[in-house]
């Protein structure tokens, strides 16, 4: 299995705050990863660097052997936490927007996913509920034929029925040539999708374990294992 993403000794500071503190890890093609950690552990900073949205950092990231930049943006589909589209847009405009920006955007799939997730094209972005916004972001991001999908808190504000639909869409999108990284606090939503779990603490990877290995060796669920590791952490 080949490597799609390698980070070595990543350092990122925001003033006095250290967001990444020597993060080192590798991601293979054909796997789904859970990147888990408490708030401010560095998940979002890491994803932004990989998506070439944060350009100043120490250490190195290689995507298919290339540093994040224009060339890698074509391979990396990033779903950011929080709002993403300009406020004037309607749901339908986001499809045009993605279509213009990404050559790998599959418009037919996007149209299908909008219907599947009951998103009306005529709706103004600003009128969408949190759950609706989560669905829209997923619909457009997962309509790219990208190699690496970085999904930051994709399940925020999502109800149980929608959660199942989203899991179905993620599984439909995933194949042996792609890699999906899920950063989420909703561990129990995604635990059956994960090949491997990477735990991030204060900007450093502290554990990398296969999901079924955790269950087999500890008799714990992924969520319980996570709690055991982080229980004694002070909140930031």
């Amino acid at each position: 299995m080949s490597e799609i993403l390698a980070a070595s000794n990543l350092i990122k500071r925001y003033g006095a705050v250290v967001a990444l503190n020597g993060m080192t890890c590798r991601f293979q093609r054909g796997k789904i990863y859970g990147l888990l950690g408490p708030n401010a552990s560095g998940k979002t900073t890491f994803m932004k660097i990989c998506a070439a949205l944060t350009m100043l950092y120490g250490g190195q990231v290689l995507i298919d052997g290339v540093r994040p930049g224009l060339a890698t943006k074509a391979k990396v589909a990033y779903l950011p936490d929080g709002n993403y589209f300009p406020e004037w847009m309607h749901v339908g405009d986001t499809v045009e927007f993605f279509s213009d920006f990404f050559a790998d955007f599959d418009r037919l799939k996007a149209e299908h996913l909008l219907r599947e997730l009951e998103l009306e094209k005529s709706k103004l972005i600003t009128t969408l509920s949190k759950g609706m916004m989560a669905r829209l972001k997923l619909a457009v991001v997962l309509s790219r034929r990208a190699h690496l999908f970085l999904l930051d808190e994709a399940f925020d504000g999502v109800d149980p029925v929608t959660r199942e639909k989203i899991i179905d869409i993620i599984l439909d999108t995933f194949d042996s040539q792609s890699t999906i990284v899920l950063a989420t606090h909703h561990i129990d939503y995604v635990d059956k999708l994960l090949d491997e779990v990477k735990l991030l603490r204060r900007g450093e990877i502290i554990r990398e374990v296969a999901a079924d290995e955790i269950r087999q060796n500890t008799g714990k669920s992924i969520g319980e294992y996570y709690l055991e590791v982080f229980r004694h952490e002070k909140a930031h």
Binding site: D168, L171, K192, L193, E224
Partner: protein, 119 residues
Amino acid sequence: MRYNDREPIYLQIMNEVKAQVALGSLTPGMQLPTIKEQAAIMRVNPNTIARVYAMLEQAGVLAKQKGIGTFVGTSTNLAESLRQELAETTTSRFVSEMSRLGLSAAEIQEHLRQFLAQP
């Protein structure tokens, strides 16, 4: 399928397939869904399904035909031997739970005898 979060998912699915063969809902020679289809049906990672199929092929429960698909094995007594295997697993789980309660072999037998004697 409902999963136990604390047990490896591949083991649970493997046991489920074995049980279906043992109980006859999967019959010898029947074709199984592709890995991708099965993952979608069971809402799990396709690599987990690939692992299950590979292990069940090794165990002779499934047979892969190149370029065609994965099928339930056709060896004689497959269902019966899987039924025996599952019965043994279930018994061993029962016995270890009873031992955890501090019961001796004789006491476990007595409990079982009384339970089975109930109308």
